[in-house]
C-alpha cells in the first residue's frame, strides 16, 4: 500500500480545515467506530460554494480526500459540486490504494449531504 505524492501532500497539509459557524449546509458521514468520520461545512452565495471547510477523524486517505474534495468544490455551483463523484476525488489525488478506495466515498458523500441540507433549507 503506497500513497501518491498528492495524497501525502493533502494529508500533511490539508486545505480548508475547520468549521463554518453559521454554515448554509453541513454534512457528516461515517462514524468513529468504523475509524472514519468527515464533516463538511459549506457557505453558498448565488448558488455557488463560496466557502468550504472540513473536519476529519480518519486515516491519511480520509484526510487527503476530504481536503481534495473541498478544493474541487470551492467556487463550483451546487449542481456542479453535486456532480463531483467518488472517482473524481481519487483521480485528482493520482489514485488511492485499493483498500482505501472507500475513503474517497466518505468525503464526496459528506459534501453531497451538506449540499442537500443547504438545498432543503
Amino acid at each position: 500500500m503506497e500513497y501518491s505524492e498528492k495524497v501525502l501532500d493533502h494529508f500533511a497539509n490539508p486545505r480548508n480545515v475547520g468549521e463554518i459557524s453559521d454554515a448554509d449546509g453541513v454534512g457528516t458521514v461515517g462514524n468513529p467506530t468504523c475509524g472514519d468520520m468527515t464533516t463538511v461545512y459549506i457557505r453558498v452565495k448565488d448558488g455557488r460554494i463560496t466557502d468550504i471547510k472540513f473536519k476529519t477523524f480518519g486515516c491519511a486517505a480520509a484526510i487527503a480526500t476530504a481536503s481534495m474534495t473541498t478544493e474541487l468544490a470551492l467556487g463550483k455551483t451546487l449542481d456542479e459540486a453535486l456532480a463531483i463523484g467518488r472517482n473524481d476525488v481519487a483521480d485528482a489525488l493520482d489514485g488511492l490504494p485499493p483498500v482505501k478506495m472507500h475513503c474517497s466515498n466518505l468525503a464526496a458523500d459528506a459534501l453531497h449531504a451538506a449540499i442537500e441540507e443547504c438545498m432543503a433549507k
Binding site: P32, K55, A60, I63
Partner: protein, 380 residues
C-alpha cells in the same frame, strides 16, 4: 533525515555481529548438512552447535529443538502436529495461532478461546475450567505482540501438567526479553522466531519436549530428526543461534535499557499530551512495549505523520496493518472501536537511545495537536 525505528515487535535489524557470524556459511562452509563429505560435515557441526545454543537458551536438550522457517511455521507445526479433539487457546493470540485454530475447527477440532481482562491478562482459572475430557492441547502465548502483556504461563503450564494435557506457548515476543525455562514452566512445546531478536528473517524454532509425538508439516528428506524436511538453512540457523546467545548474554543489560526508555516514553507522552491511556498491563508487560491510545485521532494518520518525521511505529501488529479491521487484541481487552483506532504501538530495541526518545517526545505533541485540530471528535 534521522530515522528512528520503534517497531521492534514487527522485526529487528540483524545485529552486525550476527551478520559477521553468518557470512562464512554463505560462501565457504556452504555444504548440505546431510552430505557425507567434509563440506557436509562442517555444515552438520555448525547445525549441531546452533541447536545446542538455542536449547541452552530455553533450558532444553538439543534433540528437543527443531529449526523452522519462523514463528508462524513453529506455531502451525505445534498446533497441527499435536492438536486433536479439543484445544484451548486465548482470544489475543497471534494470527499464526488463531488462523491455525480456525483451520483446525474447519477440520473437526473444537477450540475454546479463553477471554482476557482489560489488561490483556488470561486468568489461569479460566483455562482450567475450559478443560474437557477431549482437551489435548492448551496454547497460550507468553507475551502479547500488540500490548506486551506477559501471561502467567508457569501457572498454566502446571495446570496442563496436572491434567496430563500438552502445553504450547508462542514465545516469539518474549524470547530474549523475559526469562524462559521450559522445565520450570512445564512447557511441552514453544515457538520462537529469529527476526524478533536481532537474528535473520526466515528462521525459527520449535521446542518439542522429548516424548511428545508430532506429525510433521513438511514431508520429504529426513531432516531435523524426521520432523521437518528441507535442506537446513545453515547461515540462517547459525545467525539465529548467535542472536539467541547474545540475547541471553545481554538480557539484564537490555532489560534495564529498554525498561528505562519505555518508561521515559510513557511518562513523557502522558506529561505532554492530554487524553492518552496506556493499553495493556501496567507492570506485567514486555520491557520494550508501550502501546498508547490517543483520544480523538486515528492511528494510521498518527503513524504516517511520525513516519514523515522519520519515526517508525505501528498500529496493531504489522501483519494486520494492511487490513482495516480493528485489532482483535484491543477488542478483546474491551476497548471501544474508536479507542482502538487511536492506538499506537511503540516497541523499542537495543540500539534505541534516550536522545531518540527525546526527539519523539518533541515532535509527538505537535502531531497529535494537529490531528486533533482537524478532528470532528476533539471538542465533544
Amino acid at each position: 533525515m534521522k530515522r528512528i525505528y520503534l517497531d521492534h515487535a514487527a522485526t529487528t535489524a540483524v545485529d552486525r555481529e550476527v551478520v559477521q557470524t553468518m557470512m562464512p556459511y554463505f560462501t565457504e562452509t556452504y555444504g548440505n548438512a546431510s552430505s557425507l563429505h567434509s563440506f557436509g560435515r562442517d555444515a552438520r557441526n555448525a547445525l549441531d552447535a546452533s541447536r545446542q545454543t538455542v536449547a541452552d537458551a530455553l533450558g532444553a536438550h538439543a534433540n528437543e529443538i527443531i529449526f523452522t522457517s519462523g514463528g508462524t511455521e513453529s506455531d502451525n507445526l505445534a498446533l497441527k502436529g499435536v492438536g486433536k479433539g479439543h484445544i484451548i487457546t486465548s482470544s489475543i493470540e497471534h494470527p499464526a495461532i488463531l488462523r491455525t485454530c480456525k483451520y483446525l475447527e474447519d477440520h473437526g477440532c473444537d477450540v475454546t478461546y479463553v477471554p482476557v481482562d482489560s489488561y490483556g491478562m488470561v486468568d489461569p482459572g479460566d483455562v482450567e475450567s475450559a478443560i474437557t475430557d477431549d482437551t489435548t492441547l492448551i496454547s497460550v502465548m507468553h507475551a502479547n505482540n500488540e500490548v506486551g502483556t506477559i501471561q502467567p504461563i508457569g501457572k498454566i503450564g502446571s495446570i496442563a501438567k496436572d491434567h496430563g494435557i500438552l502445553f504450547h506457548t508462542d514465545a516469539v515476543q518474549s524470547f530474549g526479553k523475559t526469562e524462559i525455562d521450559v522445565q520450570r514452566m512445564n512447557i511441552d512445546l514453544l515457538s520462537v522466531s529469529s527476526h524478533k531478536v536481532y537474528g535473520p528473517k526466515g528462521v525459527g524454532a520449535l521446542y518439542i519436549r522429548k516424548g511428545v509425538e508430532i506429525e510433521p508439516l513438511l514431508h520429504g528428506g529426513g531432516h531435523e530428526m524426521g520432523m521437518r524436511a528441507s535442506t537446513e538453512n545453515i547461515p540462517g540457523i547459525v545467525g539465529f543461534a548467535k542472536a539467541a546467545s547474545l540475547a541471553i548474554e545481554r538480557s539484564e543489560q537490555d532489560t534495564r535499557h529498554l525498561t528505562g526508555l519505555r518508561d521515559m516514553l510513557i511518562a513523557g507522552v502522558m506529561d505532554s499530551i492530554d487524553d492518552v491511556t496506556l493499553n495493556g498491563h501496567p507492570t506485567e508487560r514486555l520491557p520494550n512495549n508501550a502501546n498508547l491510545r490517543f483520544a480523538f485521532v486515528e492511528g494510521e494518520s498518527l503513524l504516517l505523520h511520525l513516519d514523515m518525521k522519520g519515526i517508525a511505529v505501528s498500529t496493531g501488529s504489522a501483519c494486520s496493518s494492511a487490513s482495516l479491521d480493528p485489532s482483535h487484541v484491543l477488542l478483546a481487552l474491551g476497548l471501544a472501536p474508536e479507542d482502538i483506532h487511536g492506538s499506537i504501538r511503540f516497541t523499542l530495541g537495543r540500539e534505541n537511545t534516550e536522545s531518540e526518545i527525546s526527539y519523539v517526545l518533541e515532535v509527538l505533541p505537535e502531531i497529535v495537536g494537529k490531528l486533533r485540530a482537524i478532528s470532528p471528535l476533539a471538542e465533544r
